[in-house]
Symmetry: C3
Subunit: 145 residues, 3 copies
């Protein structure tokens, strides 16, 4: 069975926005108890990330690595209509990806202790980002009873 | 429920081949109406990409970024049996990944306005690439009726 | 329907550990015959990889590429509490990702001939890594009979 939710987030410009609480809220209101939660961002300059949830310096350093991978305003870019951060944002999205799945059981995501779930804004200015959460699974585990 | 389709694409060598029309065609012939569409490429030197569908210069610039990430013929590579683009293609596939999922509802993929779906060929010569499309979902939304 | 398995692997430090045999073993004991197998690693310094299964030099060269992407002990990192390989491991995990899905049919994963499935340890020392395998699908293909 499937349950689908449309979520929206306001980002504050480049960087990570935690979205786990919103996803957990949707999951707790769903009737599915075991399965996969798929999160999908409907944009080409923002992506999803599962990574360290404790030390904010990790996210700062991920920024360092990403900005080397695809520098803003690189003179080699030919697509620059929307500013220096435009093409960099597309490349960063290619690297991190628009969707990911997390298993759940007993109505709870099976994330590890240190895993947080983030929407990653790659443009420098704030944006409104549209996210689709799709739950696929069963209302009770198959092997129950 | 599950519906599975085997698709094949001829690439023209390195670069992106749009595959959204083929996926939409399979989806429109399927009985599932809501769920997840998973696309999987059965090769280690081609991958899948969701990114900008309007300006072809974006894809050219993604090439620039990828070729810096994993240059052809890098003297540091030890695996070079099949030519200069061989190991680079494996590394580019690691970065972009062999599979991705897109949510659908009412029989339509929930891609954003600017999101296209592409098979990314990483070898320089044309190849035939085998792709599996798996639809998981329901024939009607759970909350209907 | 859903079937879920908790697996654990001991890694030998940085590098790839094949996990396909374990996943196949779980799949062969499952009652689902067609669908998606989703593998998820519950850590922020290890990830999953589908890539070349024949020549071990490919994995060595992927290491070369990854260590350029995120060098150990980079002076630009601000998160270094657990040693030189700590932040590098988080960045490598961002690039390769904590989860992936593989389609299956007739109870067998539909991997290509050259595709292997690996747990990728990004820390230099051995670790115990927890992995969740979630199967979503049907006990028989929808179009059967």
């Amino acid at each position: 069975m499937v349950e689908q939710f449309h979520l929206a987030f306001r980002t504050r410009g480049r960087g990570t926005t935690p979205i786990l609480d919103e996803v957990n809220r949707a999951l707790s209101g769903a009737s599915l108890r075991v399965g996969l939660a798929h999160v999908f961002v409907r944009h080409t300059s923002a992506s999803l990330l599962i990574n360290e949830n404790a030390d904010p310096r990790v996210h700062r350093d991920l920024e360092t690595v990403l900005s080397r991978f695809a520098p803003d305003g690189d003179p080699a870019y030919t697509h620059d209509d929307e500013g220096d951060d435009d093409m960099a944002a597309h490349a960063r999205t290619m690297l991190t990806g628009p969707g990911l799945s997390v298993p759940f059981a007993d109505g709870r995501l099976l994330l590890g202790t240190w895993q947080g779930l983030y929407l990653y804004e790659h443009r420098t200015s704030p944006h409104r980002r549209s996210v689709v959460l799709t739950l696929i699974g069963d209302t009770a585990p198959m092997n129950d009873g």
